[in-house]
Every structure is written in C-alpha cells, then in structure tokens.
Amino acid sequence: MAGSGNHLGNGKLNLGSLRDYYRRELLECLDKCNGTKALVWDDALTGPFGLIVEYSLLKEHDVEKMMSLPKDNQALAPSSVQNIIFVTRPKLDLMDQIAQSLLKEDTKGGFRKEYHIIFVPRKSLLCERRLKEAGVHGSVTHIEEFSLSMIPFDSDLMSMEMDNSFRECFLENDMTSMFHAAQSLITIQSLYGIIPNIDGKGECAKHVVDMMMRLRRELEGQEPQITPQIDNLFIIDRTVDLLTPLLTQLTYEGLIDEMYGINNTSAKFPPQKFLSKNESSTSDMEYKTVVLNSGDELFSELRDKNFSAVGQVVSRKAKFITAEFDERNSAKTVGELKHFVSKLPHLQQARTELAKHTSIAELIKEATDTEEFMECLHCQQDLYKGEDTDKVCPYLEDCIGRREPLLKILRLLCIQSFCNNGLKPKVLDYYKREILQTYGFQHLVTLGNLEKVGLLRPHGIRNYITLRKTLKLTVDTVNEMNPNDISYVYSGYAPLSVRLIKFLARPGWRSITEVLNMLPGPTFNEVQQIPVALRKRRSSVTSSHSSIADQKVTLVFFLGGVTFAEIAALRFLAQQDDGGSDYIIATTKIITGSSLLHDISAKGLKGHITDGPYVHN
C-alpha cells in the first residue's frame, strides 16, 4: 500500500479532501460490524484501496487479517476473527465466488462468525439477486456500499480505474460505468461545489451529464452550500479522439506506462538496474516496485518531459546534489555545519530519488535506442503526417512477417486507418487476412470489434486533412528540450483532445465548428445555476490580466481513458501564459494504446493476446 496522500493537497484543488471523504466512509462501513474482522478482497480493489487507507489504520479498526477472494472453488483460509467482510465490485462472477466461499464456510463449522459484504462503489440488486439464487443471501448480516469510485492519484489527477469501461461503453453499449461516472461527479460537487459551466463532446459525455443533472434533482436540493471551487467541467468521450492513444507516448511517465505499465501510481521494474554495486543479481529476484507520484520531487519534475530531455535534467540534478554534499567539506563554522545538517534528510532523499530515476531512465533508454523502436516511431510519424497512408505499409508488412506483437501491429494499423479516413476495402481486407493467417483465426472477433468502435474502418469522408490543419495536429519543428507547444509530448504530434480543450479555453469553440461537426457525438454546453450568495467574487473588471490566484479551474473528464502524454500536455497548457485555466484531470482509466486495444480484443478465446504489461518494443 503506497503513500500517505500528502502530495494530494498540493494542487489548485485539494484532492486530499476527496481521500479523507472516502476514508471516513470506509471506516464508518467497517465500524458497523463489532469485533475483529478479516477482509476478503476482490483483487482489483486492493490497489485503489491502498491509495485511500493504510493497513495500520485498518488495524486500528479491528481488521486482523486480509486475504484474496478464493478462486476455483477454494475455501477461505481459516481464521479466528468474528467478522468476515467481503470487499467486492458488483460483478456477477465475483458473486459466484463469494457464494462458493460462503457455502464452504457452512461445512466448516467451528467458531461462529458473521459475514458481511461491502460493495464498491455501489450495491447492486442484480448481485443481491444472484446471492439469493445461490442461497447465501440469508447468511450475510450486513450488506453495505462504499462509494469509492474516483480514486485520487495525484494533486491534479483522479481515475476510476475501471479496466473495461471503454469496451463496455463503446463496444457493448453497457453504460454502467457511465452511471458511476455521473455519481462520482455528484461526489466531487458535494465536496468542491456545483460546477457552474459544463462543456462536452460525445454521446457518453452527454449521457453522463444528463444523468448527473437527474441525480442532482433526486437530491432535492439537499446539496451542501459551498462556493464552487471548480469553474468548468469539460467532458469528452475517448471516441472523439481515437488517434492520440494509439501513438507511442514520448514523455517520461508515458514511456514508463507504455513499457512497464503503471498501475495505481506504481510500476514494477526488472531489479538488475536497481542494485547497488556490492549486490549481485540473481535470477529469482523480485521486481522492484516504484511509487510514481508528485510526492517524489524529481519525478514531478521529470514526468512530463519529453524523454530526450530527461537525461539532461538527471545529470544536472546529479551535479547539484554532489555539489551540495561537498558543502560538508567546505563547511567551517558551526553555523554552516548546522545549516548543512538541516538540509541532510532532504538531500539524502533527493539522492535516493536520483538513483531510482537514473536506473529507470537507463532501462527506457535501452529500449528507445533500438532500431525497432526508432523504425516504429518513424512509421507512426509518416502515417500521421499523411504520407502514403492509402497503400499497404511495407514496414507494417515486415512487422507481421516478423510476427511482432499483435498489439503493435494493430496500433499501427488503426493509426493508418484514422489518418487515411479509413482504408480502401482491398487494403483493409489484405491486412485482415495477413493478421488472421499469422496470428490466428480467433482475431476475426478482435478485428470485428475494432471495426465496431471505429478504430478500423473502410474508406469514408476525407476529413483528417482538415482536422490536421485546423487543429495543427502535426508540427514540424519541435523543441523537445524547451517546448513551446504541446506537440512535444509526441515529438511532433499534438493530441487532438488537448487541442480541443485549448480551443475551448481560447478563443472558444465557435471558431472550430467545422471540425467539431466532423468529430463523432454531440457538442453541448450546460449551465448549472449557482445561488448568488455562493458565486465567486471576481476581481475588479478593470484589471485586464487575471492573476494566478484568479486562474480558473477546469475539471477535464475523459470517458474511456486518457494517456499520460495527454495529461502532460494539459499540465503544459496550464503553465502557459495564455492557458487560461488550471486543469484537474479525471478519467475512467489511465490507458496506453496497447491497453486500449487489449481491452477490446477478443476475450477468453484460445491464443488470446497475452496479459500483463504491454511491452512495446
């Protein structure tokens, strides 16, 4: 379980209070059962819970034991606690597992226990019905819900961490996760005030906002009276911009996610690089887990940089730290020594951070320096610049010939489809056949899915050129070291989603109506009335330049996922003089192109694309 959560409070909006809200709710839930407790986890929840409470706090509330929900008809591990609490998402297969465990418990006998279920984030009639059918509903004493859905990751970032939300919403038309999204917006508004202005783009976005309005009506005006701390909500479907996540992210954090996968703000690395000199590597060493959030000072400096600028910062930092340590030798007076000693803990921490990120950067550099990586990147660049997109791409052909990972192939293929406004039937069928013959027939379903969500499509209206020109998606001269445009996050491509946000902030969407009409889903604006007493007082009308304190706060909500590179681009935007707003980012899931495609590929068939981090090399 990671982190204390101190770093959450450093932003424009104190997301620490969201964490506190969840902590209170959880503890209230736990305290409803008297006596000692064991928690039985749905494994998908341990990560998010780790960001909300630490084990010691659970212990204070009589939690003595934690275990995973047994799979495959296994029994619960024996324990001597008075209460067994299942903590679970409302999913039917999980209900079956819980029912199995409970039935097994019945046969065990022995010390009498009480059983409870905490649903996260919501109780579900469907699940309770399932428990009833399994004949175990009666043996559950309390059924509670714990509304943890929007997990605060960092001072400006929240994620609902719903793995399949893109698939459910855009492929299967199941809006369950959108309902949860609407409810978490209600939670956010209950903590930070009603958001006066809402802009959105996309079917789901509209749906979420409608539901949120409806839920507010249900509250019957019993909302807390708080001055709004968030001025705007911008809510967007991932399907509005399917190109951006497909490209390889080139920021430090983005590359870590692409290569090693970041889950609940931590990533696992092969341990060899992290050894100190006198340790020797053995093959059975565990992966090194590193927590990646703004609590790590160096990381917060590096995360959004283009990777080519990372080396420079790291070496500068190394020099600086060495110089600081050298001060010890030059310190003569007691006062100087004292000053040095007072800095020591901070310095030591900085040194650990430095060592950590040097190792990570080395790992990434090894991968980015390979021919394969460079070639892939060039291919992507050629494609988004619209070069030869209407023919079969020889590089892609070679990749298939070499049987490179399917996810890589699909990413490139979908990029080509997007940048060519869909593929000619002949080209498309050729690719599809190549993939089926090489990777197996089961991917007929995968390809079908890609077509259903529009990642892959037959030739259609030519509008990519207009999009590219109007939104300046591609930029030829990129300064990776000292960027002056968001396109640095992909070394030459500016995320479409973030460009839309920039245009919305300034000069407004009216200037790009044509583009908006090309993108899927409705464009909408809603205004929520704020009682006069609660309205923010703006500084005097005469001051033309708004000061930093006056900077507006915009909550950007990506439905269906967001990449770290887009987050970096938004952070970059906020720092610009003409940015016009600070951004808080919320999403259903932090994604990479590979995790997105993995999500919608054929599931549960033989020869399924391997699970685990989607290493891209």
Binding site: P90, L126, N173, R217, E371, D398, G440, K606
Partner: protein
Amino acid sequence: MASANWQTLGRVYYEKMEMYALEWGDQIDLSKFIVAAAPYGGPLALLQDISSNPNIGTTVRPLLTVFTSAGKMISQMRWNSGRIKQLGWSHNEELLCVQDEGTVLVYDIFLTFIRQFGMGQEAKETKVLDVRIFNSYKGTGIAILTCSFRVFIVNSIDDLRIRRLAEVPGLDSAPTAWGIITMDGQSQALVAKGNELYLIDHGGQYQKQEIEISTPLEAIIDMAISFNNKYIALFTESGLVWIGSADLKKKYCEFNTKSPQKPTQFVWSGPGAVVAMWEKMMLVIGPDKDYIPFHHDSTVSLVEEEDGIRIIGRDSVEFFRKVPQVTEQIFKIASMEPGAMLYEASREFERQSQRADEYIRTVKDQLDVAVSQCIQAAGHEFEPSRQSALLKAATFGKCFLTDYNPEPFVNMCQMLRVLNQVRKPSIGIPLTYTQLERLTMPVLIDRLVMRKYFYLAIRICQYLKLPEAEGASRILAHWACYKVQQKNEDDEHLARVIADKMGDTPGVSYSEIANKALEVGRPDLAIRLLDYEPKASRQVPLLLKMKKEQLALNKAIDSGDTDLTYFVLLHLKDSMIQGEFFMAIRNIPEACSLFLQYCRQQNPQMMEQLYYQEDNFQEEATCKVVNSFKQERLDDRLRILAEAKESYTKARNEFAAKQVDEEIRLLKYQRRLEEELHREYTDLSLHETIHKLIIDNSHKMAETLRKEFKVPEKRYWWLRIEALAEAGEWMELEKFSKTKKPVLSMEAFVDVCMKQNNKLEARKYVQRVTPDKKVACLIKVGLLREAADVAFQNRSEDELNRVLRKCSVTDRAVEDQVKGYRQQLATAGKR
C-alpha cells in the same frame, strides 16, 4: 401543602398522585384480564383472562381491547388466533402478542395486523413456557423459554435473528426464575436454577454467578431488573429480597418480607425502590431496608417507567415516584434552598406583602440558582396551576437578574405547554418531564401521528419551529398515508389534494404514500402519486409490484441506473415466456444492450438466439465463431464454423465467410497433419503451421499450404528465413539468400540470424546490405569499428552519433575514433 402526600422511604421522599380518573369507570375488573401497558405513558392492552374462569369454554374467543392511559378505548377485537402466552409493547408502541407455539403477532394500537414472525422451530415443537419482552440496545427484544428449558432470544424485532443462548448445565426442570439483562451492548439471560444463578449468552458461554448474602441462599423464585438495566432484585423462597447491582457484584441490602408467597408483581420503581405486590397489598422497599406498605382496594396493575411506576387501578391511574430533587428542595418543610425562598417571595409578592423583599434579600447572591430551581421544579409538576406558580416565581426572580439567559425558561414553557396538551385525558399520554427528555420530542410527535392526531402534531412542530423535513412534512407524509386509506374520495382528486399539500417539500417520500395506496388496493392512485416521486430507485420496485413492467422499465432506463434496469429486465424475463420477453425489449435499445451484456457473461446461447430473432446475422455469426472455440471435439467445431459461414453469407460479409471457410480447411489440414506426422498442429495459425512444418523438415507440405492459402510471397520469405534460422539450417538459409530475385532485403537475413544470436552467420549478410542500412546492421552484429568507418564514408553525422550511443566503457578506442570522424566531418562541413 405540596408536600402533604409525601412519604418517606428512609431519607428520601416518595409521592403518589392521581393522573386520571379512568374513563372505563367500574366496568372493568382488572383481575379478570391480562394487562400489558407500554411505558412512556403508552397505551394499555387488556385481554380477557379465560383461564381463570372455568365457566367459559375454550371455544370462546377472548376480547382484546386497547385503551389509552386514561382508559379511553381505542380499539377492540375478538382474539381468534392461537393461545396468547404474553402481551407486550415494542418501543414503537406496537402490540406484540406472543403465542404459545412461538409465533409473535404484531398489531398497531388500532389492532390493525402488521406482521408476524416465529421464534424458531424448537419453540414451535416444544411450546413456549415463558416469555420476556425487554428493551435491548437495538430496540425491543423478545426472549422465550421453551418447554425444553432452552432460551431463544431476538435482540430486536426489527432485525429478526433468533439466537439460542447457552444451556444452563443440569437444568432438568423449569428454572425457578429468569430475566434478561442488557449490559455492554449484549443481552444475556440470568437464570435461577433453585439457589444457583447462571448468566448465559449467545456466544455459547455460561457463567455461574455468586452473590454476597448473609444467610445461606435459598431458591430464587422471582427477579426484577431495573428499567435502566443497572440494578437487580431477587426474591427467594422464604421471602427474602436481595437488592444489588445488575452484575450481582455489589449488594445494597437484604430485606425479609417474611412472605413465603411469590409476589404477583415484582418490579422496580425508578432506580431507587423495588415494589412487590401481593393481591391488594403493595410493599415499597428502599435500598436501605426501609419500606412503605400500601393497600389498594382492588387489583391493580403496575407499569414500570423510567422514573417511577404507573399504578392502574379499578377507577384511577396513579403515578408513584421519588420526589424529584428540585421539587424536594423547594417544597420540603423548612427548606432554606434558594428556590424555596424565591417561591415564598413570589407568593408574598402576590399577596402584596413586603416580606417578599425580605425573602429575596436572603437569596440575593444565589438568585440565578433559585430561578433555575423554580424552572426545573415547574417541569416536574403535573398540575398546571402549580406549574404556573413556579414559573411565576422564576419570572419574579428573573426581574432581579440582569443577564440571565432566557432560553431555559422559554424552553420549559414550551415543553410544559406540549406536555399539558398530550396529558389531557382526551389524548391520554401522561408523560413526565423526565420521560419526555428521554423519549425526545420527535418520538413524541411520531406517537401523536400514530394516534392520528395529525393536526396537534403539526401545530406542535410549528409551535416548536422544527425544521420542515423532520417536522411538518414528515407528518404530512403520514397524513397522506392515512388519507389514501379513505376510500370515499376519488383517485384524481386525492392525488391532487395530497400533492397540493405536500408540494415538493424536502424529505417527502411519494413512493411510501404510493405504497400505502397500493396496500389498500388503489393502484391507480398509487401510479398518480408515483409520478411525483423524483427517485427512480423508489419508483421502480413499486411499479413492478403493481405489474406495470413497461412503465418500470422506462423509468429505470431514464434514470441511467443500469442496475435498476437489470433488476426490471430479469423480473420481466422470469415472468414472461421467452418469445414475449424478446418482443418486449426489442424496441428499447438500452434494454437490449444491457440484456445482451448479461447474456454475454451468463448465457451466450441466449445471446445467439436473440441475434437470430433480430435477423442480425453478422452478430449471430460472431457468436458462433466464439462458440466454436469452446468445443472440445473437432467435429463440433467444424460444424459450428460451417454454420457461422452460412450466417456471414446471409449478412453479406463475403470476406468473413471466406475466412471462416479457410479456417475450416486449415483445421482439416491440421487434423491430417497430426495423423500423419504425430505432432500437434491444431490451434496454430496458418503461419505457425507452415513455420512448424519447415522446422520439421516437411518442406513439401509447407509449399502445399502456401499455395492452398495463397500466402503472399513477402511474408512467405519471412516465414521461411525465420524458420530456417530457427532450425539452424544455415546452409539452406544462405542458398535462399542467393535466389535470383530476393524479395526481402539483406537486413532481414541479418535480423533472423541475430534473433538466434548467431553473429557469425549474421555478418555474412552484412556486406550485402545496401549502404543506407549498413551502419545499423553493423551495429546490430556488434562491429562498431566497421560501423564507424561506413558512417564516415557516408558522411553522416547522424549515423556516427548512433554508433557513439552504442559505445560502452570497453569501446574507448572506437569512441575516440568516432569523435575524430565527427571532428573531420565538422571541419569539412565548414569549408
């Protein structure tokens, strides 16, 4: 004198006062009834005791009557269910009738049946011997003693969990006495087996209890636990009363009544005295062995209250309590307390006597205390005239104080006004001030509402300025629930009347009212009312109950709450035949997608059927493809794939149909290969199959497959060189590379060799690589120096840098060379 009817019990005073003259007059002889009265001035339930009258046959149904505390009849019915073992009231003033086979029937004060529940199988089989209805930390609990001498307990009648308490060791006859004690959030039973005492709990534990006593302990035949669960009194065979703390650790006194006869009632009067009753004789025993005897002229019934006992007699209700401390301070003869002085002063002032001034002077410094005492004492008075005399004294005292906080005085006036209202014989709730403080005002309002005194309740709320949500609007909701039961008004009108009165006041639940309407058989009214309900989660279950499935489905979908939609969908699915169900949802896309999602996880077969029904051949085919992978036997798989092909053709997806066809052919080939070569091929892709064939040296077969499935030449080359390299067929590979028109460039050969980590072989091909790719290949095979040379020849700084990046510590020489080259290029460039 106020203290005229005070009686001393040791050093404390007790008083008995008449609350009501009973309205039932002489018509009721309590000795012929089983009496149960609810505390906090609650109602009385009287059941004709037929067992005592041998003249009445068992076929006669006894009368059950509910009266207010003032003896006004509220309701009456003839009991026509089983034998009642015990009557009692819950904390919500519900009448609990416990029958001898353990069934508990619950009625409201109008004797409207609410619900019933059992106390378990064992009670049913062995019958109930005795019952205790008690106040637990969770509400009202029931404990029963079965004829097998086991105790079963329900801690709260609102949360029915029957627990069996531990067994008392060696108990082979009925316990001589027992009771329920609630301590530390747990209810336990104290059971006397002769002179042994056991405490038993639901965790399966029993503890034998010892008490401190001067004489050898005799069999305990009765026990009384005080209202606050802190004290206990035991009654032994020889008439000894032992009074102590509830945990039996502390003894307060032993008192010998010398009565060998078990008292007919044995209860506590507040926390300070134990009352034992034999027929018409009542004995009050204090903790210091003091006692007061009373004689009644008829059978009376004692009702324990928090601060005393209500005594229900033949023609009056009296209240017996310890005189509250402030009252004693003011009215005790020759009291010198400030309150007493102020009260005197005020009386003198009324008489316009100057002695008022003298009294005031004596308490000048303690006037604030005096005022508080008078206010407090007023609260404890029943008689309005005495309340006002005390309040007048308080006001009089306040005149001499400059900064006295008026709040306590105002509050007390308000409380008294409310108390006096509810105490009126017409309402008949004789609450004391102490009881009201414990009961709280919202609960009192609830009780008025339950008695249907809506108007009074609302007036009280308005008078006390309670917030709408917890006050008036809640009462209105109850009123509305009551209103819908009046059948003489038509639906339309009633719905409007209710909506008009309630508007959208916060906290009103229209669904509750609608539910009530439904209960009384007015579904149309219920639907009208439900329209006002903003919460779909409340509307939907009710609509389902009313069999308005379509409406429920629409409302659920509108709310966006998918869980709710699922709930309706599954309800529909269970209540309809499949075809009808499909028809019902086919035109509602949201419902369709959700149901499909459910099927995807739970019932893929049904998903396929649904698509079939909808003529969605494309999706039907996909279902079949997915299904084919789940088949164990190849023949099944082929059969289903053939079906899939057909569906794709129907969907006009020629491409997919063709692919399925190819897969069928491939599978057949693979089966043949397995039979011929005795190796596994099934589930490999075409590419993998050919790859494996080449490695296994079945080149001819590989060639056949290539032709059959038209593998493009370029990919076949890749396939071939990879397989050759993997098989270590280096000669073959080299021969292949020298084919006249190579389809692949030489880097490909370098790559496949390097994939097998064979640098030596790889270097063979490097020389044949085109110049633009040469540097990269040289780097790959580890020839850095050569790479640097070529890069220099190419005059490419970019390539030089690439070499440089690859240089490790051991390549110092190369590094220097590269740097040199770079220098040269730079100078050349300047020229």
